[in-house]
Amino acid sequence: MTPLQQRWLNRKGLHALIAAVLLAVVVWAFMRSEFNLVNLRESGPNILEFLTRLVPPDWSVTELVIKATIETLTIALCGTFIAVIVSLPLGFLAASNITPAWISFPVKTILGFIRSIPIIVIAVLFVAAVGLGPFPGVLAVALHSIGMLAKFYAEEFETADKDIVQAVKGTGASWLQTLQYGLFTQSKPQIVAFTIYRLEMNFRDATVLGIVGAGGIGTYILMYTQSFQYDRVAVLLVVIGVVVFLLDQISFWVRKWVG
């Protein structure tokens, strides 16, 4: 066996080993989560019954549901807006190509910590702090998004062409002017696209916030599911589905426009 062939074989062997370990973990996870195909088959009639109880939807609650959906949309919009305002400077601070490591590393660590807290937990904390309603929802969406948006912005800034940044600096531009023209302008399309995507995600996240009293459509999700009013749940699903579809379309067009 030639040395080259031996190295190829070693690499392939390593790949096979990694694949085997990953497969073992997945099998273990299925066992651990009590996944049971027999149970699933026997539950078929229950699932079917649930589905039949969704129709016909009770359209009498449509207006109520739409109002609550608009509240959820406003929560998502305000939360995303606050997150963008805070995340841009944080993104600069977390970008290792523009900020010294002793600043960027702690900022990245804090962002990672924020990201790790589930939004529902943040919402519970804010409801306890500021009371019921959409306001704690806005705060929860904002804080949760900052962790992800700032990290993404930082990564975008890190991939920017540094020669262009240097060229802008070379015109005698100040530090802020260099950031704006040299760096931000380069990253803008990706930043806009990801922010729109985050807005979409925030709307979906915000739909469940009402369950803990943080406003919006979640209140009705909780109410109708717990009282088994599946015909009304159906209206919720339709309205949420339509809004998500519309947001998806808007997001697509905006990304195409800035791309």
């Binding site: 020669d163 262009i164 802008v168 070379g170 015109t171 005698g172 531009a173 100040s174 704006q180 023209y181």
Partner: protein, 269 residues
């Protein structure tokens, strides 16, 4: 800052060594460039041309020796000096998503208030200046086109326009025409020389074509292995000189190492 008289040296290097990390790639005993000179720097790739221009522009620090540009030794972090030394890069380094005129206007960043530039709201006088420069470089009518929709030749002119917008005292062009075909290259150099001559600017051009240097330069520097091996009039640049500048490197890798070790921090101290 006082304007420089034509006899005064705008760029002075004294026993300067420069490079990257601990590796020295440029060693200049003495170099003095006067105001309004058109200095064309010839040399093989890796001869130190780009390092010399980056050093003068303040993109890399001096390892050893004394450098003075426009009377200042601190070029790197002096915004006023940065504005007064414009650079036309080989890859142009224009901002791809902005329009042509927006790119040219960035040449005015150094003298425009941050509030205005934050909104992109440059004074009317800067717009007029940008438009007249665009006309001067033959790009009038294209101002609102996005820079990445322009051809290579047009981007080259855009980069020259941005440099002119800076109102610089020195313009450095690092292999400005290596991305263009030969005819365009000559036109672009002619344009650069004409525009800088009108403004009484000192021009430094890194180049690979001795023919073009003979045509446009007032002085030619030849670099080989990081040292100046020719300094004189373009008329006196003989074919033998050319061959000497473009000869195969005489230093073998070991002695190149010796050159780099020579400037290691321990030795410099």
């Amino acid at each position: 800052m006082q304007p420089f008289s034509s006899t005064e040296a705008v760029i002075k290097l004294q026993s300067v060594r420069a490079g990257y990390g601990n590796t020295c790639v440029l060693s200049v005993d003495e170099l003095s460039i006067s105001s309004q000179e058109r200095v064309f720097i010839l040399g093989r790739s890796g001869s130190g041309k780009t390092t010399l221009s980056r050093l003068i522009k303040g993109r890399i620090p001096v390892m050893e020796g004394e450098l003075s540009v426009l009377g200042e030794s601190n070029v790197i972090s002096n915004r006023d000096i940065q504005r007064r030394i414009a650079m036309v890069d080989q890859d142009f380094n224009l901002i791809p998503r902005l329009t042509l005129v927006e790119n040219v206007l960035t040449g005015a960043l150094g003298r425009t208030s941050p509030f205005r530039t934050f909104l992109g709201w440059y004074p009317a006088s800067e717009w007029e200046k940008a438009e007249s420069i665009l006309a001067e470089v033959g790009l009038d009518g294209l101002g609102n086109r996005r820079i990445d929709t322009l051809s290579g030749g047009q981007q080259q002119r855009a980069a020259i326009a941005r440099a002119l917008m800076q109102d610089a005292d020195i313009i450095i062009a690092d292999e400005p025409v290596s991305n263009l075909d030969p005819e365009l290259a000559e036109d672009a150099l002619a344009l650069l020389v004409a525009c800088t001559a009108r403004r009484e600017v000192t021009l430094l051009v890194n180049l690979h074509q001795p023919r073009l240097a003979r045509k446009f330069a007032t002085r030619v520097l030849g670099l080989a292995d990081g040292c100046i091996v020719y300094d004189g009039d373009p008329e006196n640049l003989s074919t033998r000189d050319e061959e000497f500048i473009y000869r195969e490197s005489e230093l073998n890798p070991v002695s190149k190492d010796a050159l780099s070790h020579d400037t290691s921090p321990a030795k410099m101290a």
